[in-house]
């Protein structure tokens, strides 16, 4: 990843991932997009670079968003990377849990990409 601000997108929805990639790249971000939590953890553990922010879906197969947050919490250098959860779930208990697991912010679907970009800029 170059000196441009970098974002890691983690979502199993191909269309959504590409939509987000388009919007972030247009804003000048360096984007890496992955399809599930396991790929994301492997990427973060094996690469030397760290994204400036992670946008994370909750409902994914295999390692889901909550499991990813638990793993992140166990690794101090990953914990420093801000995470914004992007989810279709509006259950208050789940959202409370997400913050307890260390997420920095959340955005619920349906969402405005412009609003998400604003949140990402604010959380960096």
């Amino acid at each position: 990843m170059s000196e441009a601000l970098s974002v890691l997108l983690v979502d199993d929805d191909d269309d959504l991932r590409e939509l987000l990639r388009f919007h972030f790249e247009r804003k000048g971000y360096d984007v890496r997009a992955l399809a599930d939590g396991r790929e994301a953890l492997e990427f973060l553990r094996t690469d030397n670079v760290r994204p400036d922010v992670i946008v994370l879906d909750l409902l994914m197969p295999d390692i889901d968003g909550r499991e990813f947050l638990r793993h992140r919490r166990e690794t101090p250098e990953l914990e420093r990377i801000p995470v914004i959860v992007l989810t279709g779930l509006e259950d208050e208990d789940i959202l409370e849990e997400v913050f307890e697991l260390g997420a920095d912010d959340y955005v619920t679907k349906p969402f405005s990409p412009k609003a998400l970009l604003t949140r990402v800029a604010h959380v960096e």
């Binding site: 269309d15 959504l16 590409e18 939509l19 388009f22 679907k109 349906p110 969402f111 405005s112 412009k114």
Partner: protein
């Protein structure tokens, strides 16, 4: 000798058959995978073009739309539908605009009378995402033939409620219709969302028609009422009381649950004969009553739950009573409920798991339930 030749022939035929089957399976698998790859490439290609086009003025993308093949148009329709579900705000408005240019609304309206049920459902789902004008009369004309289309039309009324008069009442009526067909989970969720607010047309409709509905539908209505917040505070629920004496214990239990949101109303609390419900011969009714007492709380609830954990003969019902007691009084000692020691342990184990704590078991005594 002849039998050996016969066996050899059978073996050869089997071998040929199995080889052919393997080749067909491998070939089909390769072909399917190839098709999936081509479809993914198509989708990616159309998606990339869509992102380039979406911010342009409609006139500027006319030639692009006109030049789409049928396959590309189908992919684009799928993408537009997907993004309309995901997006809000200005971005969504752009996709609405594109949907109009693709005449998706007009096509969906025409498909309301299509023959395959799947096409009709797809059409209603598409219309719920678009701002293509559709009247309630048109929906009633085309969507009442089956429970599935009624549920989909009710959802459309929910999603586009600002455009219709009395959307909650109309949609609730569509969902319950003649009260002969139980709702799907989707229909139940729609019914709940329609009635969570200042208006609760479900309660009014039930007051008028409950006697005509079958028990499965009535049970579902009770379930929705039990779990719906913010019901109309002034609505009459007189129709619920006779259900407490229905011959079907499951319906009696569902009716008990339906009283849950009304615990703040003194007239209801005074009128509901809780002690009689606790003496119901069916454990499922007693269990529902313990859950009701748990939600209502208060000193009477505490007293009755404490008594229940000591005297309830049914294990599941007793566990429900213990769960209720624990939520009202978390520190009740096991000595106070010795007759339900195992239920006490169960509830504390549940809590320990939820909170990630270690479970501290009480000291064993001579009596164990």
């Amino acid at each position: 000798m002849e039998s050996t030749i016969l066996l050899a022939w059978i073996g050869a035929i089997l071998f040929i058959f199995l080889t052919a089957l393997s080749l067909v399976t491998v070939g089909l698998s390769w072909w399917t995978r190839r098709q999936e790859r081509l479809e993914e490439q198509d989708r990616q290609h159309v998606r990339d073009e869509l992102f380039e086009q979406i911010d342009r003025e409609p006139q500027a993308r006319e030639s692009w739309i006109a030049g789409l093949s049928d396959r590309e148009r189908a992919v684009l329709t799928s993408l537009v539908e997907h993004y309309l579900r995901l997006l809000s705000g200005q971005e969504r408005a752009r996709y609405q605009e594109l949907a109009a240019e693709l005449a998706l609304g007009a096509r969906a309206e025409a498909d309301l009378t299509a023959d395959p049920l799947g096409d009709r459902l797809q059409a209603i789902a598409m219309l719920s995402l678009l701002d293509h004008p559709i009247s309630h009369d048109r929906l009633e004309e085309t969507c009442v033939r089956s429970q599935e289309t009624r549920e989909a039309a009710a959802r459309l009324l929910l999603e586009r409620r600002e455009e219709f008069e009395q959307p909650a009442a109309r949609a609730t009526r569509l969902l319950l219709w003649e009260g002969t067909e139980p709702l799907s989970v989707y229909g139940l969720e729609t019914l709940s969302r329609l009635n969570a607010g200042e208006e609760s047309p479900l309660l009014d409709l039930a007051a008028e028609h409950v006697s005509k509905w079958n028990t499965a539908v009535v049970s579902q209505v009770c379930l929705v009422i039990e779990h719906t917040e913010q019901l109309d505070p002034g609505a009459s629920i007189d129709w619920l009381f006779p259900l407490l004496e229905h011959s079907d214990p499951e319906l009696r239990a569902a009716a008990v649950g339906a009283f849950t949101p009304f615990g703040w109303r003194e007239d209801i609390r005074n009128r509901l004969d809780v002690r009689s419900l606790l003496a119901d011969p069916a454990p499922v009714v007693r269990k529902a009553t313990y859950a009701l007492l748990t939600e209502w709380g208060g000193s009477l609830g505490h007293e009755l739950l404490l008594r229940a954990v000591r005297t309830e003969p049914n294990d599941r019902a007793r566990l429900a009573a213990m769960r209720g007691l624990h939520s009202i009084e978390p520190n009740v000692p096991v000595s106070a409920v010795e007759a339900s020691r195992s239920a006490w342990i169960w509830i504390h184990a549940e809590q320990a798991i939820l909170e990630g704590d270690a479970l501290e078991l009480p000291e064993p005594t001579g009596s164990v339930a």
